[in-house]
């Protein structure tokens, strides 16, 4: 009877038997077990071993001379250099951002001359390496022996010899400030463009003045877009001030260099400067977090975002089974 199988027989032979079905009660009582991730553990182990190796050489290699690092860490000239680095960065950023706001507003104005000047300035400054600019300002006396304030092609009112005016420190300040002006102008312009036009129109229809609209309505809304990039620029500038050591300004790095030029303890003194840069950058990152949180007022994320310690914990191994989050 093999030739006359019924349809049911054929179907029954072709399909595997349905698996035995678990009862609903058992399924409901079951504990949910997340998928095992052995690869994650292996990757973590490899990385931890590498980290252990780095820590090991840091501690055991005597040529790091940690005792020397500790001895010079709070040396008076190092602290003076640190102070100069901090306030030069602060002054450069403050004045640079004022310049940046003016340039951004010029770029967005309806006046074609102002737009072109702003565009040209940003193009020129961004095209020249900051180190070259710095040297230019430092050598200004050979290009313009004296500076005069007066009417173009007409009489001048005030004349100052540049040799005394452009000390290394002033050249450093002016060069870096002009650089920050160009970069911050682009950051600010991007932030201002991110604010909807309707906001300005609503403020205008209420009779608010142009200046107040900018200060109270547009700028605060541009801030969330401006701050992350500005934090980057600030931290970058903190470290970029180290280039002033080439024109003999006694910042953090140059102070360290002056010491190791005498005692040849190069690596430990570079470590002193490095650790101070890390400390400052860390403080700035923490500050940035709180500024960002302040300007998130009223946004969908406002208040609902992860807290400061949550972010720290989330990024620590062993503690963090939460999703890693960044300080951005």
């Amino acid at each position: 009877m093999t030739t006359s199988r019924t349809f049911d027989d054929v179907a029954g032979a072709a399909l595997p038997a349905p698996p035995e079905r678990e009862s609903d009660a058992n399924l409901l009582a079951a504990k949910v077990v997340p998928r095992r991730r052995p690869g994650q553990w292996a990757a973590a182990a490899v990385v931890l071993v590498l980290v252990a190796m780095v820590v090991n050489t840091l501690i055991t290699n005597p040529r790091f001379q940690w005792d020397v690092v500790a001895a010079y860490f709070t040396e008076a000239s190092i602290l003076r250099g640190l102070l100069l680095t901090v306030w030069l960065t602060a002054a450069v950023m403050a004045c640079g951002y004022l310049l940046g706001i003016v340039l951004a507003v010029m770029r967005l104005s309806s006046n074609p001359v102002l737009r072109m000047i702003s565009f040209g300035y940003v193009w020129l400054i961004r095209s020249v390496p900051p180190l070259v600019q710095l040297l230019f300002w430092y050598e200004l006396a050979s290009l313009y022996p004296q500076l005069s304030l007066g009417i173009p092609f007409g009489p001048s009112f005030v004349t100052v010899p540049t040799a005394h005016l452009f000390t290394g420190l002033l050249a450093a300040f002016v060069g870096l400030m002009l650089d920050v002006g160009a970069f911050s102008a682009e950051i600010i312009r991007g932030g201002l463009l991110a604010v909807e036009k309707g906001q300005t129109e609503a403020a205008q229809s209420l009779g608010l003045s142009g200046r107040r609209i900018f200060r109270r309505i547009v700028l605060p809304q541009a801030m969330p877009a401006i701050i992350p990039a500005s934090g980057n620029l600030l931290i970058g500038m903190l470290k970029a001030t180290a280039i002033v050591s080439v024109i003999a300004v006694q910042d953090l790095l140059y102070s360290a260099q002056l010491i190791y030029n005498q005692n040849f303890l190069i690596i430990p003194l570079l470590l002193v400067a490095t650790i101070w840069y890390i400390v400052l950058t860390t403080l700035l990152s923490i500050g940035q977090y709180f500024v960002e949180r302040h300007y998130a007022r009223g946004s969908a994320r406002g208040g609902g975002g992860p807290g400061f310690w949550q972010i720290i914990r989330g990024n620590l191994p062993l503690f963090g089974r939460t999703t890693p989050a960044g300080l951005s």
Binding site: Q199, A202, Q204, L206, G207, R216, Q221, R297, G298, A300
Partner: protein
Amino acid sequence: MTAAPLLRIRGLRKSFGSNVVLDGVDLDVAESAVTVLLGPSGSGKSTLLRCINHLEKLDAGFVEVGGEIIGYRYDRHRLHELSPSAATRQRARIGMVFQQFNLFPHMTVLENIVEAPIAVARKPRNEAVAQARELLDQVGLAGREDSYPRQMSGGQQQRVAIARALAMEPRLMLFDEPTSALDPELVGDVLAVMKDLAVSGMTMVVVTHEIGFAREVADSVVFLDGGRILESGPPDEVLAHPRNDRARAFLTAVL
């Protein structure tokens, strides 16, 4: 209707590049009257509204509110555009409500409402706050002072926007499709607030597609197409018996 109209528009022309948006518009709105502007999209309704408070510059013609030319000053056969501060002063008495609400998202509801009264009308803060609370009560949002706009529904945001405009004690209110961005179930609350406002005697110019609102509240309905007014009159006349073909086609489509 013997008194001069509060809003007078004559010969208004406006184009964007080669695109003529308003092609000679004349319009009168009497004190305390509600005028609804109807028309297909691109017919120039919103541009007309924006010309009334000088958010757009004019190519020809003029807009007069309370006998004062808006945005320009006549001097020896020329209309000179006003300085931004003078235009700002005129705008303060013309309230505007936008389709997208345009509340300031970084300010609470209360801060949104008191900003202009304090900064522009120079009201003492406590007076401005007291007035803001009254206005919030009037639009049915008492107690929501400290909310941020994004924590509210679209209908609530639009009612805050109306309260914000009213805080400047305007003599004319402009509404630019105030319910078009709302979920259908939220439209009613906003229209109810607008109806109360109309009943209280506010002069209003409303761009909307809510034919029911036009029929019930408007004193006159204006139908625009291609930058011209094709038909205007009392709502039962224009809405029920339009004489113009295009107006009839439009109304059949939206009703």
